[in-house]
Symmetry: C2
Subunit: 396 residues, 2 copies
C-alpha cells in the first residue's frame, strides 16, 4: 500500500514550505564559497567558556532541573529578564509577565495560534522576516503587507490599510529589522503606538537585535511606550541560538491562555539551559561579552558598507543599518534577484533573495539580504566584489 499522504493534510499544513533560509534550501557550498546568508552568530561570537561554566554551576543549583517544570519557565531567569526589560525602559515589567520560550520563534507561533483564525487578516512588514511568514502560514491568515523603508514601517500605508481592514495584529521588528536592517526613530514609534491605540490594533514587537548596536543612539522598544505591546526577546543573537532561550513579555490577561498553549505545544522548555543562562548572567559576564561582539560586528558592518560603496554601480542602493546583522540591497531597475541569485551561487557568494522575504507573490524581486555577521572582513570585501561582478554581468 502506498498512501497518498498529501490528501490527508490540513489546509494550513498543505501551504507549508521550507523558507529561503531553511537548512535544506541552502546551496551546496564548495571551498571558497562566501555565504552572506547567515542570520546566526558565528562560532567566534559564542561565549562557549561562559556557557560551559554556566552549565557546570547549573548542576550544583538546588533546583530540580530534570522533572517537568512550570510552563512559564525558570523563575530566576524570569526575574533577570524583567530587570533587563526595565533597563530598556519598560519600567512596569514584572517577572510574572515574562514567559520563557524555546527561542522567540516559539512566541511568534503561540501568538499566531492565539489570534489567527484561518482567513483572518494580519498586518506584516514587507519585506518581512521569512521565519515569521512560515510560522504565520501554518495558521493560514490573509496577509496585509505594509512597506518597510529605511526608517522602518511606512505608517501612512499602515493607516490607509487600517481605514478598511481590522487586522488581528501587526507583527513588526522595529529595531535593525530582518531583512532590511531598518530602525524606526522615536517619533515614528510614538506615532505607531498612537495609531495602534486609536484602532485597537494589537502590536507584536519582535526584538532580537536591539542589543547589537554599532552606531547611533539607543531607541526604546515599543513596549516601553505601551504596556499592551506584546514583546518577544531572545538570547539567540547575544549568547547562542542553539541554547533555544527566548522570552515573551505579555499583559497579565494573556497568561493563563499562554500557559495552556505552551503546555499543549511542548509542556515546558529545557530547564537546564535556562538555569545555565541564569548562572552565566549572575557572573556579570554579559556587558563585556556584548562589548566584544559589538566591536567585532561593527568591524564587519564597516567592511561591508565600505566594499559596497567602493564596488557597486551608482544605481544600486542599500541600507546602512546602525546595528543587527543585515544590509538590504536593491538591484537596478529591470534586474531580477532570481538571476542574481543563480549567478551569485555560481560565482561563490551566497545571498538571501528578497522574493523569500515577502507575502506578495513576485514581490521584492529587486531585493536581497546581505548578512555581515558571520564572515571576517576580508571575506566580506571579497564577497561584495563578487556580487558587484554578478550585477555587472546582469547588465550586459
Amino acid at each position: 500500500m502506498h498512501r497518498d499522504w498529501q490528501s490527508h493534510y490540513s489546509r494550513q499544513a498543505a501551504r507549508m514550505h521550507l523558507t529561503v533560509v531553511s537548512g535544506p534550501s541552502y546551496p551546496k557550498q564548495g571551498e571558497g564559497f562566501i555565504s552572506l546568508r547567515s542570520g546566526a552568530p558565528p562560532a567566534e561570537c559564542i561565549p562557549r567558556e561562559w556557557l560551559e561554566r554556566g552549565m557546570e554551576r547549573a548542576w550544583s543549583a538546588p533546583q530540580d532541573l530534570f522533572g517537568y517544570q512550570s510552563a512559564m519557565g525558570a523563575w530566576d531567569l524570569r526575574v533577570l529578564v524583567a530587570e533587563r526589560m526595565r533597563a530598556l525602559g519598560c519600567l512596569d515589567v514584572m517577572p510574572q509577565q515574562v514567559m520563557l520560550l524555546s527561542g522567540a520563534q516559539q512566541g511568534i507561533d503561540f501568538l499566531a495560534r492565539l489570534f489567527i483564525n484561518p482567513g483572518d487578516p494580519v498586518a506584516i512588514e514587507d519585506p518581512v522576516y521569512p521565519g515569521a511568514l512560515q510560522t504565520f502560514d501554518l495558521c493560514a491568515p490573509r496577509y496585509l503587507p505594509i512597506p518597510v523603508g529605511a526608517d522602518g514601517l511606512d505608517l501612512d500605508a499602515l493607516e490607509r490599510t487600517l481605514a478598511t481592514e481590522r487586522p488581528q495584529f501587526l507583527y513588526t521588528v522595529p529595531t535593525f529589522q530582518n531583512p532590511t536592517g531598518a530602525t524606526m526613530p522615536m517619533e515614528r514609534r510614538e506615532r505607531l503606538v498612537a495609531i495602534a491605540r486609536a484602532h485597537g490594533l494589537i502590536l507584536i514587537e519582535d526584538d532580537p537585535y536591539s542589543a547589537l548596536r554599532y552606531a547611533g543612539k539607543d531607541v526604546p522598544p515599543l513596549r516601553a511606550l505601551d504596556p499592551e505591546v506584546i514583546y518577544l526577546g531572545t538570547f539567540s543573537k547575544t549568547i547562542a541560538p542553539g541554547i533555544r532561550v527566548g522570552w515573551m513579555v505579555m499583559p497579565e490577561a494573556l497568561k493563563e491562555k499562554m500557559y495552556a498553549i505552551k503546555e499543549a505545544a511542548d509542556i515546558n522548555s529545557d530547564r537546564v539551559m535556562q538555569q545555565a543562562v541564569v548562572e552565566m548572567l549572575r557572573t556579570g559576564f554579559f556587558p563585556d561579552h556584548l562589548g566584544r561582539i559589538r566591536a567585532l560586528y561593527a568591524e564587519r558592518r564597516a567592511a561591508m558598507l565600505a566594499a559596497l560603496a567602493e564596488r557597486m554601480p551608482p544605481d544600486v542602493r542599500w541600507t546602512e543599518p546602525e546595528g543587527g546583522f543585515f544590509v538590504w540591497l536593491r538591484l537596478p531597475l529591470g534586474m531580477d534577484v532570481a538571476d542574481a541569485l543563480e549567478r551569485a551561487n555560481a560565482r561563490g557568494v551566497g545571498i538571501v533573495p528578497g522574493t523569500g522575504c515577502t507575502a506578495i507573490p513576485g514581490g521584492q524581486s529587486d531585493g536581497m539580504r546581505l548578512s555581515f555577521c558571520a564572515q571576517p572582513p576580508d571575506a566580506i570585501t571579497e564577497g561584495i566584489r563578487r556580487l558587484a561582478d554578478v550585477i555587472a554581468s546582469l547588465r550586459s
Copy 2:
C-alpha cells in the same frame, strides 16, 4: 485603556484550558499530603550523575552545539534512536525517518497541525491522555472517543465508528496506556493494524512507557506491524522529562512537511541536550539504569495493587497494569469522582479525576487515575488507605 483580549482570540485558542494535570491546577499540598497524581519519574529515578557526565562529554564533542541546527535534530542521536526502534521490532527504521522533538508532546502537536482542519473528526481513546486532548483542542477537531478496556482499545467500537466516519487519524497509547495502564495484546494489535489498512486510517502510536515493564512479556509496538504507523517515543520517562528529548518515526513522505512545521514552531530543539543523551547512551549505562528503575517501580506497583486488594470494598474495580505508571480505578455505582476528589484532597491524598481524561462532557465520572511512580511503597499504602476511607465515607 483596558483591552478585551478575549474578543481577539482565535476560535481554537478560546477553547484552550489548563488540563487536570497542569501545574497551576494542582491542589495546595500541605505536609503529609500524598500525591498519587504524578506522571513524571521522581528524583530518585533520574540518572543525574550520568546526565552530568553526558553533558560534560557533550562539551568536548567536535560538533557545533550552539548554532542553529537541522530541524531534524542531531544525527548521532537519530542513529541511536533508529537502532533502538529496530531492537523493538521495527526492523526497517532508518535514522532518516527519525525526527527529534522537544518531548513527544511536540510530536502530538505537529501531527495535529499536519492533519486537523477545524471540525475534522479524529478518533481518540476514552479515557485519554489529558495532555493529548489539550493539544488536539488547539486544532479544534470533532472527537470520536473509542472506549478503552483492560485489554486496550475496543476494536468493535472502533469498527462501528469507522462504518460511518472517516477520522483524520486514531491516536492511541497501546502499551501501559495513560490513564488506564491497559496494554493491547498482540492479536488485538494485528487486528487494529488490519482495520486501519482496510479503512485507510492513519495510526498515531504514542509509546512513552513500553520500556517500563514489570510483569508479563514484551509486545512489539504497532509500528513493528506496519511502517505507515507514525510513532512517538521519548526519554522523558526513562531518563528525565526536563531534558525534553523525544522523537517521531515517520514515513519518508512526511519528512519535508514536518521539517517546515518544526522550523515554524521553534526552528530546532536544544542540541546540547541531544548530544548529552548521545554521550550517555554511548557509555552503555542505559540497560542497567532501566533495570534499576524497573525494580523500583515494580515494588511501588506491587504496593499499590496489594493495598487496593486489602483496602477497597468489593464493588470498586481497578486495572492491574504490567508496566508504566498508572492504575485506573472505577468507583462503585452512583459515586461521583468530583465528590471523591474533594474529599481526597481534604483527607490528604491526590488523585487525577477521570472527568479530566475524556472528551465526553460528564464522561468518566466514575474513574480516577492513580499513579504509583512517584511515592515510596509506604506512602502508597497509606495513600490507598486514605482513599478507601474516602470511598467508604461517600457511601454513607
